[in-house]
Amino acid sequence: MKEVTQRFGGLIALTDFSIAVDDHTLVGLIGPNGAGKTTVFNLASGFYHATEGQIIFNGQTYDKSLEPYQVTTMGMARTFQNIRLWNDMTVLDNICVSQYHRLGYGLIDAWLCNERYSREEKRVRQKAAKILEIMELGDVANEFPKNLPYGLQRRVELARALSTDPKLLLLDEPAAGLNSSDVDGLIKHIRWIFDEFKIAIWMIEHQMKVVMSLCQHITVVEFGKTIAKGTPQEIQSNPDVIKAYLGDENV
């Protein structure tokens, strides 16, 4: 993203925000609530169109006509702050449907139940099974997400994002609401995905444990403006950051 300014009516959500996420890096975006972090993600995934500035992904610049699903097809996947799973479909179906852009058959094929259809369906299901196995979700494949505990739901959401074959994975507060053992599991899973799939991961997170242990590079925003950039160590000792999070007195 280059110098993106985002305005909603009279409200300026982001001012001159720039960031570059390279291949196979783990980047973090932190900041107090209301700083504009989710706005950045929404811009990146194509839900909002930037009022000013440029967004480029994979060599392609975003234009006004870009739809979010096209962004995903280009290779960017995303999870959400509130869990947005399809609650009345099984976990397996959730993972299968998110491979939609890779379904190699059309409506007529589905009606005729021909070779291509069977082949593609089988491939999709096998891939889904594999991802479920990787994420240790094999047991719950036929459950409905609404019946699963919160930690498992978060994991399903991660698995679902993974099944879209992303090159860049956006994680919006993946550890929100998790207890400490789940958080450790999450860190383990993210690191595993990072190493195994060699994708870039960009995450918004409040829990410092996750951010510090995983991110190679962190950007800090406050009120829509970038106030610091650097490695975890640099950020931890940066006075502006401390002031933003904890207030003046504690510096």
Binding site: T38, N42, F47, F80
Partner: protein
């Protein structure tokens, strides 16, 4: 030019009916976020109630009153009884669903079905013979230059304006009105603030249905032949008017009613009359496409 002016006067009268019914739609939608599809049929019920009341009061078997007294008594009784019908509808059909926290879809279907039951029930109970409202006032015709208008039409327009002013004052200046506006913003917080939700809703239905009843009676006075399906089409037009103006906003309903009537009258002036309904529905679709919130409405966004 005279022709246009005359048509404008007709549009004012026609629009008054639309406005009266549209106000009812808007009130209920503003408070409950429910499109009360049965509202047009409540208008029809009002017209029929006025017929029965007027016939009874006038006839010698009944009370044998003079037309002048009958008029005022009928107006009052029609509004009260129609309001009663509206409240009963709310109590039987909508409230239980609200209690259960049912999906809005179910309530809308119920509203649609209630409307159909009112129409078909009327047809089934009373048969297909058309009823005619007895004459209640002496018609005098005024001529302003080349334009012609009857006193009845003037009364209709005056009634619509008065009702609008009354509602506007009520919603913006009184406590009840404030409660109604509060409900439209956040239904669940209301009881927490000590305001009984059910009462506010009942008041809304009383107002909306009463006004529709008045509209029904006025319509019956202008066009005395009543039939069970008269509410359906007018209800739809009034609804279109409310949407065009921005459903949920009283000014929108009022303005929308006259706007739609104006368009319709102009269409009929230049095209065959069978195209009138088609035009109105097409306008509806266009508005919903281009600016779904209407003229006065407020767009709502979802947080991603």
């Amino acid at each position: 030019m005279d022709y246009l002016l005359q048509q404008t006067l007709n549009a004012l009268q026609w629009g008054s009916f639309y406005a009266l019914i549209a106000l009812g739609y808007t009130l209920v939608y503003g408070v409950l976020r429910l499109i009360n599809f049965a509202h047009g049929d409540i208008f029809m019920v009002g017209a029929y109630i006025s017929f029965f009341v007027a016939t009874y009061l006038l006839s010698s078997d009944g009370l044998g009153l003079s037309p002048q007294n009958t008029l005022w008594l009928t107006i009052v009784l029609t509004m009260v009884l129609t309001a009663l019908v509206g409240v009963t509808l709310e109590r039987i059909a909508y409230r239980p669903l609200r209690r259960k926290g049912a999906h809005r879809l179910y309530v809308v279907i119920t509203a649609l079905m209630c409307g159909l039951i009112l129409e078909n029930g009327n047809l089934a109970l009373l048969g297909a013979t058309k009823r005619k409202l007895p004459e209640l006032i002496d018609k005098t015709v005024y001529s302003i230059g080349p334009l012609v208008i009857t006193n009845l039409k003037v009364w209709v327009i005056v009634a619509a304006v008065l009702v609008f002013l009354f509602l506007q004052i009520m919603v913006t200046r009184t406590k009840v009105g404030m409660a109604m506006r509060a409900v439209s913003w956040d239904r669940f917080a209301l009881p927490l603030m000590g305001i009984p939700l059910d009462s506010v809703i009942v008041v809304t239905f009383v107002l909306g249905s009463g006004i529709a009843g008045l509209g029904g009676m006025l319509f019956a006075m202008c066009y005395p032949n009543l039939e069970p399906y008269m509410g359906a089409m007018i209800g739809w037009k009034a609804f279109i008017a409310a949407v065009v103006g921005g459903i949920g906003d009283i000014r929108g309903a009022f303005v929308g009613g006259f706007l739609l009537a104006f368009v319709e009258i102009m269409v009929v002036a230049f095209l065959p009359s069978t195209y009138m309904d088609l035009f109105s529905f097409t306008i509806l679709l266009l508005i919903l496409w281009v600016r779904p919130t209407g003229i006065f409405g407020m767009p709502q966004t979802t947080k991603i």
